[in-house]
């Protein structure tokens, strides 16, 4: 820092001398043999009368061997320092020698925000020490230092230059995603991508950049931008108990970004929300966001803006997770110790993503610590977790590993005799490896595996498992262009085994494999324009069911439903363009092409008749990988933002999506044994469109964010099941399902306080979702073809999430949820049949269960904040469902002893206390 002042002072003085500065005409002769700098300087000072300034220590390795006659001083110095890292500068009678950096003989242009100085050029271009050719990019860690970017020139050219680089955590070297780099003078800003990479185009000249990141200390960097260059920024973690609710790091993003309906949460805000068993749960938190609903408590399936649960693309480090839940849905499949943040796209879905109608939930794990080995562990009532991370090669390669398991069997053993012999267990394993090959190339490797087993009454055993792996290669072509190449495999399977009846013993297996390849490009063409484009391809192999006899006495005939194969390709192009500072537009198009492939036998149905076995006229058998039929079409992703003023903006968006894989379920909640189906000639892909409009306003210095969004959405070709459908081991799914269309609309209000001791959010949503059977060949229409509310149609939905920080070590969170009861089908009449009372049901979803209300409370207690201690501890203690309200999960009517009774089932009907102990090392 002193150095800067020193140089600054020098510059001020030297500026005045600049006019007198002249090229020295005097010539001298020298003859050095392995001369030290002292010898050289003494000789030259004697011959020229100039005075030399240098730091001896910097020059102790220099040996000069040179013989020249009658040459000017400049030529001699040029020759002496040729091919070395030494530089010189001559001002008047003074010579400044330096190593690595050349002393500039003029004040940096724009230093006083003045016009570029008209000083005559003293030297050729100063070596650019940030230019890409150099091995190491400057790590800008200091706030007050001025970093010069690009090839330095004495006068700053007009126009723009692009600055790019990574934002990283200074302690762990981990990339910081979604950090904002913002230039307040020009109101230009960007946020870092999933790799922590940013590219910002600014007018050349001097700037102060404000850098903000989730859970990071705000920082700033002073730069002088000469030309395109790189700047890596390291940020410090905020060392407080920090249970601050931060939905977005960019406090202005709410108003300034073009995206609509995007919610981002980091793990810290996820961890402060109380859950039933005390372990932070990613999916449970998603449910508190406006526009997200679920059918009930023990479900991890969620519904976004009236979409079905299978219309969400759940991405975990770019891998598709088919079943994101454990243990009957009481836990989500994501290890909270590894998750860094989540992002939910409800409206503006980036053109990069496709294949699902409603939303994209992007869950990202941290990178491993690049500097040292660390770890953490957590102990809860039902689960324990452990994670370890650290460098494999320091600052280059790191790994992160996490594992989680349950020991719930002790709880099951407390159950009555009939359930005592039940068991349930799960585990999941995560591995992430990041390898920085060089400044331009980085490799990311991830592996994930989860496994669930459960068995009730020692009769039938169930198991399901996710397995995912992928490798990503990120390549920076230059500051403005980078690409990411991905290859990955996603796998999901389940099995059901029963040997209770020896004659009937069977094992049933379901499995789906998805092979992915993707190439994405990101091109920052100019400050107003960012283009992204790419291609992706997924190959599906789906085994819908394979039943085999289990046990020697079993008479079960093997039953294998034909494998389904399909290829889904897409190409996309998107452009974000700032038309004026106030008006921005983002337009994207994605073209998907889907091919259903053999081997397969396809039934043909008589035209205009219900798809029933009797109406099958013919069938065709296709060979392996033969294209049976294709579907395809464009998907548009448009959004626009207009800033009414600095604190307020208006946004509008239109989206269309296509979906080729369907989850077929006739249960209320997603069950672990629901089956998937690929689109084929008889089952059309789903198509969805959404328009939305929003008003965003920030108040109180951006600490309070408010927004109102309205949307209207239509869904075509959603597959609903026929009454009394058989879905498992079903070779003719088209005979069991009906094409349904849906419409959904709603308005979402959100108020969020992001800073201060009290923070949190309040959201209210009014929304409706209706379905209608419009299948002309359905035969039997649900509710006679009228519109009926979907299972998850809950018009009023209110959520409050608040956190008050009493001190750095103690904070309290409160969570309040209210929603209208979900629709159900109720009995409207009863009769006697088959020896008992039976009930006659109303039209589908004609009635509602009682309204839902729940309050949760949790306290987070941190250990002391001494930096140097072996372990850091924290406790979270709380009560789930504080008021003990017995919220109805479902109501049902059951015959018992020949009489029908109505029952109400609640999952958490009492207050559930929880405690969790976490340790970090």
């Amino acid at each position: 820092m002193k150095k800067i002042y020193f140089f600054g002072l020098c510059f001020v003085m030297l500026c005045r001398l600049a006019a007198a500065q002249d090229v020295n005409k005097k010539t001298i002769s020298v003859n050095f043999q392995q001369a030290t700098i002292e010898q050289v300087v003494t000789d030259l000072e004697a011959k020229t009368g100039y005075h030399f300034y240098y730091t001896q220590a910097q020059f102790d390795s220099l040996k000069v061997t040179l013989q020249l006659n009658d040459k000017p001083l400049e030529v001699i110095l040029n020759a002496a320092f040729q091919k070395t890292d030494y530089h010189y500068a001559i001002i008047d009678q003074n010579v400044f020698l330096s190593k690595a950096r050349q002393v500039s003989t003029s004040l940096a242009p724009g230093f006083f925000n003045a016009q570029p100085a008209n000083a005559p050029p003293a030297n050729a271009a100063v070596t650019d020490y940030t230019v890409e050719t150099q091995a190491k990019v400057a790590e800008a860690t200091t706030e007050n230092k001025i970093y010069e970017i690009g090839i330095r020139t004495n006068s700053i050219k007009a126009g723009n230059a692009t600055l790019a680089g990574y934002v990283r955590n200074i302690k762990t070297g981990e990339a910081i995603i979604g950090a904002s780099i913002y230039n307040p003078d020009d109101k230009l800003g960007v946020s870092t991508d999933q790799f922590g990479y940013y590219s910002l185009t600014l007018p050349r000249g001097r700037h102060t950049l404000i850098v903000k990141g989730l859970g990071m200390k705000d920082t700033r960097r002073k730069i002088i931008l000469y030309s395109d260059g790189k700047l890596n920024i390291e940020m410090q973690e905020q060392v407080t108990s920090l249970k601050e609710v931060t939905i977005s790091a960019e406090k202005v993003a709410n108003v300034k970004s073009v995206e609509m309906g995007v919610n981002k949460l980091d793990i810290k805000s996820i961890k402060q929300i109380p859950t039933a068993f005390g372990e932070a749960d990613v999916l449970r938190v998603v449910l508190t966001l406006p526009g997200v609903q679920s059918v009930g408590e023990a479900t991890t399936g969620f519904n976004v803006r009236g979409g079905a649960a299978d219309q969400n693309l759940v991405l975990f480090n770019d891998a598709t997770i088919y079943n994101p839940s454990h243990f009957f849905g009481f836990f989500s499949a994501f290890d909270p110790d590894l998750v860094k943040d989540i992002e939910l796209y409800k409206s503006t879905i980036p053109e990069k993503y496709g294949g699902r109608l409603s939303s994209v939930l992007d869950v990202t794990d941290r990178d491993g610590n690049k500097k040292k080995f660390t770890g953490s562990a957590g102990i809860g009532l039902l689960t324990s977790r452990l994670n370890i991370e650290g460098p494999i090669v320091k600052d280059k390669t790191s790994f992160i590993f996490g594992g989680r398991t349950t020991y719930s069997d002790w709880l099951l053993s407390l159950l009555p005799e009939a359930y005592k012999h039940s068991s349930a267990s799960f585990y999941d394993l995560n591995l992430g490896i990041t390898h920085q090959i060089n400044d331009k190339n980085t490799l990311y490797l991830m592996g994930y595996m989860s496994q669930d087993h459960f068995r009730l009454n020692s009769d039938t055993a169930y198991a399901y498992s996710n397995k995912n792996a992928n490798i990503k290669w990120k390549h920076n072509f230059n500051n403005k262009l980078y690409s990411v190449l991905l290859f990955g495999i996603d796998h999901y399977d389940y099995s059901i085994t029963s040997t209770a009846n020896p004659v009937d013993g069977y094992q049933l297996k379901f499995g789906v494999n998805q092979y992915n390849g993707r190439l994405d490009f990101n091109y920052y063409t100019n400050p107003k324009n960012t283009v992204d484009f790419g291609i992706s391809s997924s190959f599906y192999i789906l085994n819908p069911g394979n039943e085999q006899p289990d046990g020697a006495k079993s008479l079960v005939v093997p039953d294998v439903v034909e494998q389904q194969r399909a290829l889904e390709n897409a190409i996309y192009l998107g452009d974000k363009y700032d038309i004026t500072p106030k008006l921005s537009l983002s337009a994207g198009i994605r073209y998907s092409l889907y091919a259903f492939l053999g081997p397969q036998t396809i039934d043909h149905y008589a035209p205009n008749l219900p798809r029933e076995p009797v109406n099958v006229t013919d069938s065709t058998t296709y060979g392996t990988n033969k294209v049976i039929n294709t579907y395809g079409g464009p998907e548009l992703r448009l959004s626009a933002r207009y800033n009414i003023n600095d604190d307020m903006s208006l946004k509008a968006a239109y989206n269309s999506m296509r979906q080729f894989i369907h989850l077929i379920s006739n249960t209320t909640a997603i069950s672990p044994t629901d089956t998937y189906q690929l689109s084929d000639p008889n089952i059309k892909p789903q198509y969805g469109q959404q328009v939305s409009l929003g008003l965003y306003r920030n108040a109180m210095a951006n600490t309070i964010e408010t927004s109102v969004e309205v949307y209207y959405k239509t869904i075509d070709n959603y597959l609903d099941y026929r009454s009394g459908a058989t879905l498992l081991l079903q070779p003719h799914m088209e005979q069991q399902t009906l094409n349904t269309r849906g419409k959904a609309y709603g308005v979402e209000f959100l108020i969020r306080k992001t800073a201060g001791k009290l923070n949190g959010w309040l959201s209210y949503t009014y929304s409706r979702t209706y379905l209608q059977q419009d299948d002309p060949y359905a035969g039997e229409l649900i509710n006679n073809g009228g519109w009926y509310p979907a299972n998850y149609d809950k018009p009023n939905d209110f959520n409050f999430n608040g956190n008050y920080r009493f001190s750095h070590r103690f904070s309290v969170s409160l969570d309040v949820t209210y929603s209208t009861g979900r629709p159900i089908t109720l009995p409207i009449a009863k009769y006697e049949y088959g020896g008992s009372e039976r009930v006659y049901y109303s039209d589908r979803n004609a009635y509602r269960i009682p309204d839902y209300f729940r309050t949760d409370l949790s306290m987070n207690i941190e250990g002391n904040h001494k930096v140097h201690q072996l372990t850091h501890n924290s406790w979270s203690i709380g009560v789930y469902n504080l008021t003990g309200r017995a919220n109805a999960y479902s109501t049902f009517f059951q015959e018992q002893g020949g009489v029908i009774n109505g029952y109400q089932l609640s999952i958490f009907a009492k207050p559930i206390p929880f405690i969790n102990y976490n340790i970090r090392f």
Binding site: L555, E780, K830, G897, G902
Partner: protein
Amino acid sequence: MIRATRNKIILPGLVLLAGLLICGCQKLYNPKPVKNSPNILVVEGVIDPSADSTIFKLSRTVQVNAKTTVAPELGAIVNAEDDQNGVYPIPEIGNGTYAFPGLRLNITRKYRLRIRTTDGKEYVSNFVPVKITPPIDSVGFTILPDSLQVYVSAHDPTGSTRYYRWSFDETWLFHAFAPSEYISNGYKLVERTIDQQIYFCYASSLSPTIVLATSNKLAHDVIYQNPLTLIKGSSEKIEREYSVLVRQYAITADALNYWANMKRNSDQLGSIFAVQPSEITGNIHCTTNAATPVIGYISASTVTSKRVFLGNNSLPRRWQPIYPYSCSIDSIPNSRVQLDLIDIPVSEFTLSYYGNVFNPLGYTATERECADCTIRGTTVQPSFWVYR
């Protein structure tokens, strides 16, 4: 055993599991009564082509919270018809029951049912083939830790049955809480005669659950130990002697689907992953107005049956019956007997005395439901009762 719905039968257990994990959280729920409850015709019965009786029950649906479920449909005209224009009337024998002793039909033809109700509407079922039901191989019992599983096994060597439905009637001998040896003749207490014994009774019930199975996924048409009913070890049904009559019906795949849906709607709902209820239409329709719903599935088949008996001597001794009423025995001195006879006519005098056999000081007594088995059964031994 209904293999087609396997993914749903998982989970009635899950409810309880989830429930018990956290709390006992299943409670009674009585929604507000529905306005305009529909009044739908319900048709139940099987066209029996043999010499056995063909019986149809016609009734109407009632409000869900109505006290009684019985709303018989009277005065309808019911005919079985074959696909060769043959008509076989099934006359009303009273109270909504329509029966004919033995239709003796040609089993190569297809049959349907036609009903004309007094409100002028006509209902016709689809033609169904006649299924010949194979005999029941066995009805047996499996002793579980605290309950008794009753099962049925059957097979069809021709492999043409594949879809099975069973109904069963249970009859059992049980006793009251305390024996009653005396009875009042209006003036004084006298010993009961054999005809007046009210300690041992027979009770019976019809199967309330729908029992279905299919062997269509098995290599042979075999049903092995398909569960019929589960009796708790503490049930009075098996405290002495128990008998079950199982009826077997061969049905079509379509009929099985209908019955399975009805079963699902009445006893497999409510768990976390349970199927949502839905109505499916049977094979009978209103021809007068297609929009008029009607409940029922008409099958044509013969019926086979089997009766078995079980005595409590083959059951675990630790199984003790739990009496359904809370009972105690009072002592009543002679001085109060007259008074009690008048004032507490429900009292039954149970044990003869306390004091001296020849000179009783008084009697012991208990409530009527604790001594009189006839309020829940009959002392008349059923004609089929052969066990001993």
